[in-house]
């Protein structure tokens, strides 16, 4: 069965420091990969997605992620974070078994940016 593992439940970081949020998935077939962000009391907002093509994907708010098929990873990175990046980040995957319509989410990583 499809699964997504976000290795860190919480990541504290100082403002302007770089950050990497890790995501690994399990699948033997081609998948689509997504990162969503959830700010307090809000819904999930798409940061970026990988469907095919270049393995380095750029998203909104200066975030990027790299798809690594051999390591089944899709880690999210930002070279310099802001206080406003404090939020919960969810990695998600969809695959042919769900017609690519069903998203399987990881448990989330809470990013806390400190001044």
């Amino acid at each position: 069965a499809q699964s997504v593992t976000q290795l860190d439940s919480q990541v504290p970081v100082f403002e302007e420091a770089p950050v990497e949020l890790r995501c690994n998935y399990s699948s033997s077939v081609s998948v689509y990969l997504f990162w969503y962000v959830q700010y307090p009391n809000q819904g999930l907002q798409l940061l970026l997605k990988y469907l095919s093509g270049s393995t380095l994907v750029k998203g909104i708010n200066g975030f990027e992620a790299e798809f690594n098929k051999s390591q089944t990873s899709f880690h999210l990175r930002k070279p310099s974070v802001h206080i406003s990046d404090t939020a919960e980040y969810f990695c998600a995957v969809s695959d042919p078994s769900g017609g690519y319509n069903k998203l399987i989410f990881g448990a989330g990583t809470r990013l806390a940016v400190h001044p």
Partner: protein
């Protein structure tokens, strides 16, 4: 920017009662979804809906659950007889297309079953 809206933001109900959660998807979207997140747990897929019928549902989506698009704008999730374990945040989402099309989520309805 158009957005998915959900009402109410918080619903409290007694065990055994029926509850209807409402959503207005983005107007030109064709695919609709419900997800839920039990406190402290993962966001879980419940159901997807396209062309006025369910296209896929999870094992969570049993006979107590139903979805409906009663008119051209609303998309509802009904729980017939709520249980304590139904307490969760319920997210509605919609997308323009199915495959690879990003899902746009609402802000959620927090359902508390007492």
């Amino acid at each position: 920017e158009p957005e998915v809206t959900q009402t109410p933001s918080h619903q409290v109900t007694q065990m055994g009662q029926e509850v209807i959660l409402r959503c207005v998807p983005i107007s030109n979207h064709l695919y609709f979804y419900w997800y839920r997140q039990i406190l402290g747990q993962k966001v879980e897929f419940l159901v997807s809906f396209y062309n006025n019928e369910i296209s896929e549902k999870s094992e969570i989506f049993d006979d107590q659950f139903s979805v409906e698009r009663p008119d051209g704008s609303n998309f509802t999730l009904k729980i017939r007889s709520t249980k304590l374990e139904d307490s969760a945040m319920y997210f509605c989402a919609s997308s323009v297309q199915g495959v690879g099309s990003p899902l746009h989520f609402g802000n959620g309805t927090r359902l508390t079953v007492t």
